[in-house]
Symmetry: C2
Subunit: 359 residues, 2 copies
DNA sequence: TTTGTGTATGTTTGCGCAAACATGATTGGT
DNA sequence: ACCAATCATGTTTGCGCAAACATACACAAA
């Protein structure tokens, strides 16, 4: 078993770390030990400084910090996580990011979490099926996140079938899982009520509704509130039209509504469908708001540039995101799970698409 | 070294782990050792099975897998990362998610990365300043990501001032850092050229341009291509109007353009500004496309519902995202850094907002 | 037989950090 | 003066995993 001297495979020994120009084995991560050596203290003291322990005298702390800066030390989060059993990471499960609301919410979550020094790991659900969701939650498990925020918009979170590691806190956005989990959501019902009341207060006999898809919680809640607001006011409840949130589906619905003689007021479940309705009314020669009044939902930034500028219900997505993070961090801190629903209020923004009916 | 037969190596006593009803210290993570004990093998064999090593005989593998399932074993990614120096994680730095393009790109990145078994960590830039970006990159360092995808849209990535851990691969979206980093971007110039050519081919004398903000790379590239396409065609180059991407700013620009007598064709740098232009033209009594033709950029889903449906340049954000991930994974695999630019083509979508000029 | 060549598995080790404990240096109270 | 109670800091240990190395056994070629 000889091996030629002078040849590289000298493995048995890890020594000679600082041998001449030693090749950096891995990303030459600067470790606590390096900082400790430079600062002339023990690595534990470096750890203490790094974690802001009060038990370090000021002069020592300064030395250590100087050494850290000189070497460009960054604590290794893997080791930290291994030791502490926590990554300070929140997993966010999303279905689809292509809706404005989800994105805004996600952005707020990321920003707010960063402020509290938590990182965000994005877990997209690859397919909107139970299996897809299972997969997402299972990946969460491997990633050892401290908490999960699920941005669900469809009826797929059957809690019974999802198993997460114990101790992981969950907050769900836009769901009806309030019995099991913390839920944060826009106050859809109140928003819809405001929209319908606004139209009724203008003097309309009743209000038609173009709803979103049935699988959507938000859509169902808006539709339900529309219905009860009408019945509470003693008004007739016209049949519901259904779209899929897209402007095109709103256009389809608009073509039909334009032929309804008694239709003077419409509440669309989102702004994009309202845009489609506007187009349909325009093509059919129905003036908005003179012939038909229209209210949307969301208050997308372009809503004020629609023709005419759209009266709509403003959602505070940023608040929703912030609430999610606060809620989840609260659960982590207190190590409790607190089911319940947090509702974020909406505002009615009145622009030019609504007016009293002609007589 | 002798060790007593019959007794497990009871050295310093981490005492009585399975003592009566021992409180689960942490989240009772099932570890390899637990699986190994149940399966009657060494933990190294469990590791091999877990990593799909071929050196495990089929019967053993099955036993181990059975044990894993029984205990619900999930490899601990912290330990794995600590050992391997890699989390299989890509950090994504974003400025703002509120633009449609960014969020589509992000979604594609997340999905594509998940397919290759990489996780995504979102790092929001808290403030659009050098310091903010520094902070984001520095956080990347702590998180020990394997690669970074930066979705930048403004001139702030001054590579000289950003230090990341060596070995971390970077891809930048929408930037001109092609000398230093890999850059993936929509082919802005070609898209803009197509838009302008389309209008010129319809017979317009020249094409006006409503650009985005100067800080935006995309905006600058579209404007430059607009200019060269005009000069190459021997046409006059009208003054540039500038917006901030918002529909409102497009409206402002539109009010001014409506008063330009020679203006029969406009290229707006994005669809939202085009929407604002449409509104301004409508209010000023200019018919689109009869009096003025208009082309946008982006092809937002609602563009077909604008009044009139908008001719625009379609961007393939999903392709951009996929390219980013492919590129970065390629760099990781080959451990190379390859500066250069990858351009994703666009398509001109002709709808009803463009027509030949009246004479 | 011996020797080699695999192949499947076990054992040791250390990644970087921080809890737990140990030590040594100051205080202050009596 | 003494001891005890603080403090600041050092030492040891192990988190869960996988690379490196060691071993044990099977089988083929000499």
């Amino acid at each position: 078993m000889e091996h030629e001297p002078g040849q590289p495979p000298v493995r048995n020994l890890p020594p000679a770390k600082e041998a001449a120009g030693a090749a950096p084995r891995r990303k030459q991560q600067v470790s606590m030990a390096d900082v400790a050596k430079l600062a002339g203290v023990s690595s534990q003291t470096v750890s203490r400084v790094s974690n802001g322990s009060p038990d370090v005298i000021e002069s020592t702390r300064r030395q250590v910090i100087a050494a850290m800066n000189e070497l460009g030390y960054r604590p290794n989060s893997a080791a930290r996580a291994l030791k502490r059993g926590s990554f300070r990471t929140i997993g966010v499960i999303t279905f689809s990011l292509s809706s404005l609301g989800n994105m805004r919410t996600l952005e707020a979550i990321a920003l707010h979490a960063a402020r509290q020094d938590f990182a965000i790991t994005l877990i997209p659900v690859t397919a909107p099926t139970q299996a897809g969701i299972q997969g997402a939650f299972s990946r969460m498990g491997e990633l050892a996140v401290d908490a999960v925020i699920a941005i669900m918009e469809v009826h797929l979170l059957d809690a019974a079938t999802v198993t997460l590691p114990p101790g992981v806190k969950v907050v769900v956005v836009d769901s009806d899982a309030g019995e099991q989990y913390s839920v944060v959501d826009t106050d859809q019902a109140d928003g819809a009520r405001k929209a319908v009341r606004h139209l009724l207060d203008l003097g309309h006999e009743t209000v038609w509704h173009v709803a979103g898809p049935e699988e959507s919680f938000a859509s169902e809640r808006r539709a339900a509130a529309w219905r009860t607001t009408l019945t509470d006011a003693g008004k007739a409840v016209p049949p519901v039209l259904r779209g899929d949130w897209s402007a095109d589906s709103g256009y389809e619905a608009g073509l039909r509504l334009a032929d309804e003689p008694g239709c003077t007021a419409v509440f669309a479940a989102n702004d994009h469908m309202a845009l489609g309705l506007l187009r349909a009314f325009r093509e059919k020669g129905k003036a908005v708001p003179e012939d038909v009044s229209l209210v949307g939902f969301d208050d997308v930034p372009e809503a004020s540039s629609y023709a005419p500028p759209l009266t709509t219900v403003h959602q505070n997505f940023a608040d929703v995101g912030n609430q999610c993070v606060d809620n989840v961090l609260q659960q982590i801190r207190t190590n409790t799970t607190e089911p319940g629903i947090t509702l974020v209020p909406t505002q009615l923004v009145v622009r030019n698409s609504t007016a009293p009916p002609k007589h």
